[in-house]
Amino acid sequence: MKTKNSINPITKYLTSVLKYLTTIMPALLWMIVFFVIPLIFIVVVSFSTRGEVGNIVYKFTLSNYINLLNPLYIDIFIKSILIAIYTTALCLIIGYPFAFIIATSPKKYKPLLLLLIILPFWTNSLVRTYAMIVLLRTEGIINTLLLHLHIINVPLHLMYNNTAVMIGMLYMMFPFMVLPLYTSLEKLDKRILDAASDLGAGPINKFLKVTLPLTKGGIISGCILVFIPTLGLFFVTDLMGGSKVILMSNLIKNQFLTARDWPFGSAISVVLIIVMLSVITFNSRTPGTKGIL
């Protein structure tokens, strides 16, 4: 029998390329056309100028970014980041024990409890925000109740301020924190905890030295899933803040719709993108914290 030499390299290459083409290409092409290119476009526009009545003049300029250095905008930027951080922190602090309790509850309750968490998550976000408004309004439930019970004499101004916006965001994003936390808590091998006890760790030590580090992945996922979208929830700010509270998201919306300064709006968006990218790269750099999604 003759010994045959290596397989024809061209056919080999073609068949393998064909495999990639059919599976990945459609998605890749779609995302490049409708996702990557528009984003690149925004970056380009951020370096352009605004025409007299709001059209885009493609003349290179850094003025939009220089504009951003105005303390006014820096202020808005900081406020947005702070609110996002507070919301994330609150979600984490309230959410972690919550997820923990559910993850450690007896098997028969778990599906039900999970269902109860997921249900609001899948309900329309506007509906949920509106529900919050109903509660917090000056003549809403909470105030009426408290007045009725004579706990307060003057209605609380729960709406149209920073606090309202934060409550709205918290309500909206809470499930996004709980689910990744729950997943990583669930995956925790209980036997490791047993080993810790066996070696003499009390409940607090067990938590700090074993549970917490091992669920780091879930914590970081949850934080990312809350922090970043919060920066873009303009309608919560709109509805709960009565257009009085201005954050980066509202600023962008205004620039694009009302003030028709697309270049400036794009510049703000680019800043937002940079924030997001830094958070993500920070996540993947930190060892042992591959996000759980």
């Binding site: 990639y20 599976t23 059209n55 997921i118 809403g140 009565g242 009302t258």
Partner: protein
């Protein structure tokens, strides 16, 4: 020891309970009040289904539901197919640049939606894709793909590759392997991905907000505009139905998880889903469809709360033309949408100075007055105004005056006589004003004694400082429905157009108004036809229809703005004609001022506006 465990269990239980209460009480309240007779969502006055009934007759909502379902279904199908293929490809093959593809498929999950929304808006406007169902579907597919990939990938992680090898070993070609083995095994993941994509599409607010066009209002967007008005519990009823739908879909998903899947069952499930969806959509479709299929479509763009549904219905029935009615809350927003090339609006409404801007920009076309037989009904004092001499581009629609309305049970009469009284310290946190920079800055200028259209730097500087001092008094900015704040007690006084005050007083007789002493802020709104209009004939028919005296009177009845149609006066309720908020006394009108285009100074105003807020 037992006691300790019991105690911790109790604490755990209480904690869970509290959090769940926090999550669910708002929703419960919402659902409860959908059955409440009272309009105000506070006190229970009786059980009723009327809101659900009126919901079913609300064409706007049904339209939105239909749109949402169509868009969700189509985008789900596309994204599931593309996404599943991609997930399989990523799982199977290693190649150069895999990390990059991975990132591209991951980023949409974490990017703020607003960035995606505006980038798509910009993209569509450059590539000249009209905003409508197509743009919405494209947008929804774009963010759904990432989610489908993530979900299917998770399912693939536990997938045993050798099963595929076995299949090939037993004689199945790669294609057959995919359909007989791979697909059925990952089907639960695919279905989960599909459900997720479907829900996300139905739920999407932010991205849809930017890329929706006329005739493609989705359910969330409709809810968004309804929330801003928040007047009737119809929205509670709608919310309850949405929640119900979610529960049904979720239970369905859970049931699927526990059932073993094979090809036969997949076919059964898919057919049943298809049947259910088809029957729902055809049900909705027959509901929204009128008798004969409308031959033409007219896209109208107008301020919110400016044209009653009854008039639109009458027009549709008279001329058998379907009207797609979209709304905006400010001139600038309308201008932005027109400039983005988005939306093929055939007819839009613009205020005086905006007509100037539009004509300068070449965005509107000259109108053919020959077909506008009802133009003679318009009073001559409203024609031939400086912003459009000869009415080449516009016909008058309504005129309005800025009026301060207040709740006399909270603020004693006589406290407010003019703009400057708004600055009074006792009005802390009690005002709702229009979210319109020209109006508010202009008002401040007038308060300082300047003209509304003043552009000198010193004047603007003083206005800015004054406005900053006003901020503590302003509770909220609202151009959509400022009267809501007044009615539901959030604000004690509002500065808005007269009609708002008039409507508010219908709900609450305590509400009175004041014509500001410094001088009235006047505005004339007009119909214009955008250059990109497709159905000009229908547009002209509509303009003419509106100027019919009886129709015009009907509009005034619902939205009592100043009506330039003098022939309509005999049909208008005398109370409205006497209402000072709507028809201020002659001398006040003479003292009033209209807004003019101030060209580039707008940017200075933009800056002030942002700084002040």
């Amino acid at each position: 020891m037992n006691m300790k465990i019991k105690k911790t269990n109790l604490m755990k239980f209480i904690y869970l309970l509290l959090v769940f209460l926090f999550l669910y009480i708002p929703i419960m309240v919402l659902i409860a009040f959908s059955f409440n007779q009272s309009k105000l969502n506070v006190v229970w006055t009786g059980f009723t289904f009327e809101w659900y009934q009126s919901l079913l007759h609300n064409a706007g909502i049904l339209d939105a539901v239909k749109n949402s379902f169509i868009i969700a279904t189509i985008s789900t199908i596309i994204s599931v197919i593309i996404g599943t293929l991609a997930a399989i490809g990523m799982y199977r093959y290693k190649f150069k640049g895999k990390r990059i593809v991975d990132t591209i498929l991951y980023v949409p999950l974490v990017i703020p939606e607003i960035v995606m929304g505006i980038s798509l808006l910009a993209f569509f406007s450059i590539v000249k894709i009209p905003l409508g169902k197509i743009s919405l579907i494209i947008a929804h597919v774009t963010f759904s793909i990432a989610y489908v990939v993530a979900v299917v990938k998770t399912r693939l992680d536990g997938f045993d590759k050798s099963v595929e090898e076995v299949a090939m070993d037993l004689g199945a070609t790669p294609l057959k392997t995919f359909f007989y083995v791979t697909l059925p095994i990952i089907m639960p993941g695919v279905i989960a991905g599909a459900l997720l994509a479907f829900t996300l599409s139905l739920d999407d607010v932010i991205i849809s907000f930017f890329v929706a066009g006329p005739g493609s209002v989705t359910l969330p967007l409709k809810v968004f505009s309804m929330v801003k008005f928040g007047v009737t519990p119809e929205i509670n009823a709608l919310s309850t139905l949405i929640i119900l739908l979610t529960v049904v879909v979720l239970s369905f998903a859970l049931i699927i998880r526990n059932v073993n899947i094979n090809m036969k069952k997949i076919v059964v499930i898919l057919t049943s889903i298809f049947l259910v969806v088809a029957s729902i959509s055809s049900g909705i479709y027959t509901y929204t469809k009128n008798n004969a299929a409308p031959k033409e479509v007219l896209n109208v763009f107008n301020w919110s709360e400016y044209l009653p549904q009854s008039v639109i219905d009458k027009f549709e029935q008279t001329y058998n033309i379907k009207v797609n009615y979209s709304t905006f809350s400010s001139n600038e927003e309308m201008l932005a949408k027109l400039m983005a090339g988005g939306g093929n609006y055939d007819l839009t409404v613009a205020s005086d100075f905006m007509v100037e801007i539009l004509s300068k920009q070449g965005l509107i076309q000259q109108i053919n007055k020959d077909s506008l037989t009802n133009l003679k009904n318009i009073g001559p004092q409203f024609l031939n105004l400086p912003f459009d001499k000869g009415n080449k581009y516009s016909t008058p629609y309504m005129w309005l005056a800025g009026v301060i309305s207040y709740d006399s049970s909270k603020i004693p009469e006589g406290t407010i006589k003019g703009y400057k009284d708004l600055w009074k310290p006792e009005l802390k946190n009690s005002l709702t004003v229009l979210d319109d920079e020209r109006v508010i800055i202009g008002m401040t200028l007038k308060m300082l004694g300047y003209s509304l259209n003043e552009t000198s730097p010193e004047a603007l500087q003083k206005a800015k400082e004054a406005l900053i001092k006003l901020q503590p008094n302003i509770k909220s900015y609202d151009s959509d429905s400022p009267k809501t704040s007044l009615i539901n007690g959030e604000a004690k006084a509002i500065f808005a157009w007269g009609a708002e005050g008039s409507l508010a007083s219908r709900e609450n007789p305590n509400i009175k108004y004041v014509i500001p002493s410094e001088g009235l802020f006047l505005q004339q709104d007009n119909f214009v036809i955008p250059k990109a209009a497709k159905n000009i004939k229908a547009a002209e028919l509509f303009m003419n229809f509106i100027m019919d005296p009886e129709i015009s009177a009907e509009i005034s009845q619902s939205f009592p703005y100043g009506n330039p149609n003098t022939s309509a006066y005999k049909y208008i309720n005398k109370k409205i004609l006497d209402d000072k908020a709507v028809y201020p006394p002659e001398k006040a009108v003479k003292k009033g001022e209209y807004l003019r285009d101030i060209g580039n100074s707008v940017t200075t105003l933009d800056k002030i506006w942002t700084e002040v807020k």
